[in-house]
């Protein structure tokens, strides 16, 4: 097809010009596909991590893809002002700040029995008067079984591989931290109450004080209640919701408290590896007390539609070289986007109706 343009000065045939356009547009489209990961199916995406958490029967729609069983609470964080030395976040200035949070059990099935929950979690959102907030999600294990998000994914894949029951054993053979975690899981007592559990950040973060000095830390919420272990032979006999029922009653009787304690890394301590516990003699700062005053069922509770993304941090706190918070943030977002699109599968209870 001849057009007037074919006779113009430079004289390159029209077909070459169209080819150049197609190449240019195609190159940008390919670059976009590469950025999106469509050309590299091996890329570890947050969606893959979330998929790997699903039980064999598929994910339970409407619920968190992990730590699916939970209960909401409200309370306060009573800061004593001590942590101002290490962080300029307003949350650490002496005062009381509203908290909304969630006690939970690790695992993808929201109907699991409480007695089978080895790993228990505590998630918090603390709001400062300057509208900045701190979100964190912790567990009761003293260290994490896996050193990197990639290995975490490999372990999930190995666990799901029903054709090769030796896969997890092989994984454990090359990952001593998983064996140590197994030893903790097999020997640590099960507390009778969430109020007796200690919850640990495991991941490290960096605090910055008013002078601009940076300090790598981990933290723990340490219960003020004494631990009463459930005898292991009793665990299976307990009510499937005994933890939630106990806590509801306990908080109705009296507020329950945990001390927030920061552990300060020394130079050279492993901040990027949550499998490595720091030496016991590291300096600690008690920053205040979490006071839990009200328990609410999750279906209608305020913690249900919140993502306790551990990278939502106030000014004066930031992520460290620990690779997990970023991976968790990415995966939690996928979990959140999926479950919020399925809310019809997790009905809210009508006000006044008995759940």
């Amino acid at each position: 097809m001849k057009t007037p343009q074919d006779q113009t000065a430079t004289g390159r045939p029209t077909v070459v010009r169209f080819a150049a356009i197609a190449l240019s547009v195609g190159a940008v489209a390919c670059a976009f596909a590469y950025a999106a990961g469509w050309l590299t199916p091996s890329r570890l995406t947050p969606a893959k991590i979330v998929d790997s958490l699903a039980p064999a029967s598929g994910p339970v729609k409407g619920f968190r893809r992990n730590h699916a069983k939970g209960i909401c609470f409200a309370g306060n964080f009573e800061a004593n002002g001590e942590a101002v030395a290490v962080s300029r976040a307003a949350i650490f200035k002496a005062g009381s700040y509203p908290v909304m949070g969630r006690f939970n059990l690790a695992g993808p099935i929201p109907t699991m029995a409480d007695g089978t929950g080895r790993v228990r979690g505590l998630s918090l959102r603390i709001e400062a008067s300057d509208k900045q907030e701190w979100r964190t999600a912790m567990i009761n294990a003293p260290f994490f079984p896996i050193a990197t998000p990639k290995e975490f994914y490999e372990l999930q894949r190995a666990s799901a591989n029903k054709n090769d029951p030796a896969a997890v054993k092989q994984f454990a053979a090359s990952h001593p931290s998983l064996r140590e975690f197994g030893a903790w899981a097999g020997s640590a007592p099960y507390a009778e109450s969430y109020a007796e559990d200690r919850f640990n950040s495991l991941n490290s973060f960096v605090l910055t004080n008013a002078q601009g000095q940076k300090q790598a830390v981990r933290w723990s919420f340490i219960p003020t209640a004494t631990m009463v272990p459930v005898p292991s032979e009793d665990l299976k006999k307990r009510d499937p919701d005994f933890l939630f029922k106990e806590l509801t009653q306990r908080v109705a009787d009296a507020p329950q408290k945990w001390k927030l304690v920061f552990t300060l890394a020394n130079p050279g301590d492993p901040t990027a590896d949550p499998t490595k516990v720091w030496p016991a003699n590291r300096r600690q700062i008690e920053a205040g007390t979490l006071v839990v005053t009200r328990i609410e069922a999750e279906a209608n509770g305020p913690c249900r539609d919140i993502n306790f993304d551990p990278t939502v941090l106030p000014e004066g706190m930031q992520t460290s070289d620990d690779p997990f918070p970023a991976a968790r943030s990415a995966a939690y977002a996928v979990s959140y986007d999926r479950r919020t699109s399925e809310s019809e599968h997790y009905p809210r209870v009508q006000a006044g109706a008995k759940p």
């Binding site: 950025a35 947050p46 993502n307 970023a326 990415a330 995966a331």
Partner: protein, 181 residues
Amino acid sequence: MNRPSMKFSKLQRVLHWVMAIGILAMLFIGVGMMSTIDRAYLVLVGIHKQLGIAILVLALLRLVVRWRSGAPSLPASMSEPMKLAARLSHVAFYALMIAMPLLGWSMLSAADYPVTLAGMRLPSIVPASAELHSILWSAHRFLAFCLFALFLLHFAAALFHAWVRRDGVFETMTFGRRGGR
């Protein structure tokens, strides 16, 4: 609104190219951040939010400038359907440039995420709601791919004007002295 000039005003050309880079970066960062769990994820999400707000401000400014300065008329050699396509693509661009940041912001608001700009907390622009979040999130994602498709079309059309038709339309947005034929 059209005026007999052969180029867009200098402010319009500067806005166009700055925003072209910004929007293309947003599209690449958007799909990139959704596909990684590396520490880069947090950096990309951070840039995506700040740049999104910047584009919203620039898009509103640009809309005002477009309204006041208009656009050079399209050459008479262009067929009516082509002219219509050109005008509709501009309308679609303005709609998306303004809608995408607002959808992103409102999607974060619906999820009750804090939205901060340079350390300052911005207000939530919609109430917290899981159902609303889901609708807004899906819209943000779908329209992002529409915007990229529109960009590819726009890019192809620009090159078509520059290399095949050579009718001066491409030069209305360039900084060279020649203003087309």
